[in-house]
């Protein structure tokens, strides 16, 4: 079942099968649907065997970076000489992305099961699930589910009678986009400001509380029980494009589109099918102008680029953007691109943790220059100024927040330059009052 729409015949429904099915939220409802079988199976397997299975499936991190999940798990020390931790990243804050929210709202036990399996696989006795503060409903649903799982003995000192301890703690964020960055998240759990940390050391060496730590996204972890149940070969076979991108992907679609919502597709599905057949295409009488395919942090695609792309990590990269979190922001021909790029820059300026100069100053100046252009006070030199700033904001900071601000600005100037020109030439009514 899709949500909020019935699933489309071209979807491949795995993780989203029970979206919209309230009964699947309860422990018994989940167990009736095959829930916790994979965890039982995992408890009978060695850590190495689970890691190998996940490696063989080709599963890659669904939070945005696309790092191979099994490989990440294999970085954890083989011997457990001090506490190991799993952190589940449920801080979903990337504009355009709202899939993890649906996983938690409808299938909380799928996430708990995935976390439990991953904890066992990396030798962790405790998992922290970091849920963004604004997600009040997912928090309530997840709290109830964790409580149920403890009451049934699935979690706790003797998980499913295995003699292994698996604890799960929900940790509530408090409004900071940057805490979705894995090292900022660790600081936030430790009771600190959410400033990203310099890597190395990588989390598997010195992570949460200085201990070996693995951080995975909600969707990644929710896919794990399916892989154990149905096998790595089944998962790997879900692939239409490049063999490096396997499995299914939850896609959030929003903006100027007939049927916004979440969809699940096999990796490599043509983006045109997703936009027109599944999500119903543009509003009546409109055409698409721009598509941001991976949450707001990736380069903007033109309609032509998007409509010729295959939707997987390589397919989107080939067209000059990134799959990211697969949050598709669709903009039609009514959209003022300069205004929306300004709005995105403002987002990053607001969310910068302000540790790195390039980001703190760069995001703010980018925003102000765009404001000036929108107020009709722009100059020709502003193009070069924005591009120079963006270059100084890319690849030069502790985390990639400033790169994320530069991506829409640079791609926006490249692909929609005439809209900037119109404001600068005074051919377009100012959209903002002069500052």
């Amino acid at each position: 079942m899709g949500y909020p729409h019935p699933s489309h015949p071209k979807e491949t429904v795995v993780l989203s099968q029970y979206f919209g099915d309230a009964e699947a939220r309860s422990y018994d409802g989940w167990a009736k649907r095959g829930g916790y079988e994979a965890f039982r199976k995992a408890l009978g397997m060695t850590r190495e065997a689970i890691v190998e299975e996940v490696k063989a499936s080709g599963l890659r991190g669904r939070g945005g970076a696309g790092f191979p999940t099994g490989l990440k798990w294999s970085f954890m020390p083989k011997e457990v000489t001090r506490p190991h931790y799993l952190v589940c990243n449920a801080d979903e804050s990337e504009p355009g992305t709202f899939k993890d929210r649906e996983v938690m709202r409808w299938t909380p036990h799928a996430l708990i099961e995935g976390c439990a399996i991953a904890s066992h696989a990396i030798g962790a006795e405790r998992c922290y699930i970091y849920i963004r503060g604004e997600f009040t409903e997912p928090w309530t649903v997840m709290s109830a589910a964790v409580e149920e799982a403890y009451a049934r003995g699935t979690l706790g000192a003797d998980a499913m009678g295995s003699g292994k301890r698996v604890d799960m703690v929900l940790h509530r964020g408090a409004g900071a986009y940057i805490c979705g960055e894995e090292t900022a998240m660790m600081n936030s759990i430790e009771g600190k400001r959410g400033n990203p940390r310099i890597k190395p050391p990588f989390p598997a060496v010195a992570g949460l509380f200085g201990m070996p730590t693995t951080i995975n996204n909600v969707e990644t972890l929710a896919a794990v029980p399916h892989i154990l149940n149905r096998g790595a070969a089944w998962y790997k076979a879900l692939c239409l494009g490049n063999p490096k991108s396997t499995g299914t992907k939850l896609i959030s679609i929003c903006g100027h589109i007939q049927r916004p919502g979440n969809y699940e597709v096999t990796m490599g599905t043509p983006l045109k099918e997703i936009l027109y057949e599944m999500a119903g295409g543009p509003r009546p009488g409109r055409t698409f102008k721009a598509i941001i395919p991976g949450g707001s942090s990736v380069p903007i695609m033109t309609r032509e680029e998007a409509e010729s792309a295959l939707f997987d990590y390589e397919g989107i990269a080939e067209k000059g953007s990134l799959l990211g979190s697969a949050g598709l922001i669709v903009m039609d021909d009514t959209t003022d691109m300069v205004y929306q790029i300004w709005r995105l820059a403002r987002f990053y300026a607001h969310e910068s943790c302000a540790q790195c100069t390039q980001c703190r100053e760069g995001t703010a100046w980018t925003t102000r220059i765009l404001e000036r252009i929108l107020a009709g006070k722009g100059k020709q030199e502003d193009f070069q100024l924005l591009l120079d700033l963006s270059e100084n904001m890319t690849g030069k900071t502790i985390c990639v927040l400033s790169d994320s601000c530069a991506a829409p600005v640079v791609s926006g100037i490249q692909k929609f330059r005439s809209e900037f020109e119109a404001y600068i030439a005074g051919a377009r009514e100012p959209a903002l009052a002069a500052v």
Binding site: G96, T140, D167, A174, I189, G255, I329, F347
Partner: protein
Amino acid sequence: MSAHSAKGGHDTHAAPHEPVFTGETRARLERLFAQYPTKQACLLPALWMVQEVRGWISEPAIGEVADVLDLTPAYVKGVVTFYTMYHTHPVGRHFIQVCTTSPCNICGAEDVVKALLQATGCGELGATSPDGRFTVIEVECLGACGFPTPILVDDDFIESVTPDQVAGILKRYP
């Protein structure tokens, strides 16, 4: 709802600080200590508790949190001010957050903001209505972009809000 509800009344000014961490709230905090290897890690949950009980986080409350977690008030204040959901001054009885980031913006979020500011009597973002009932703020991405415009009224997450629905929604929050 949960231990982390954002609801609750709020302090009047200048009254002597009445400790938050007594009785059941204290017991809840102590149960949390078992879930983290350090007391410091209980800082975000402890701040949520203060906000739940008092509606906002005052200077004396910061001092109390520092005290119960063996931290300094300056450190706690540094953390409080990093996170946008902690209120460092009193807010209206009902706190309204409206998403206006790009995906909602292109679907009409600015009109929802205007309707809310007018119907609540708040007049401007961040201000509290003269009757003390509402405070409205603009926030960055609430993570429900497919359902524009999402708003949070206290702990109630409301999707697909349009300007004409605003008055009806507000009626539910006396």
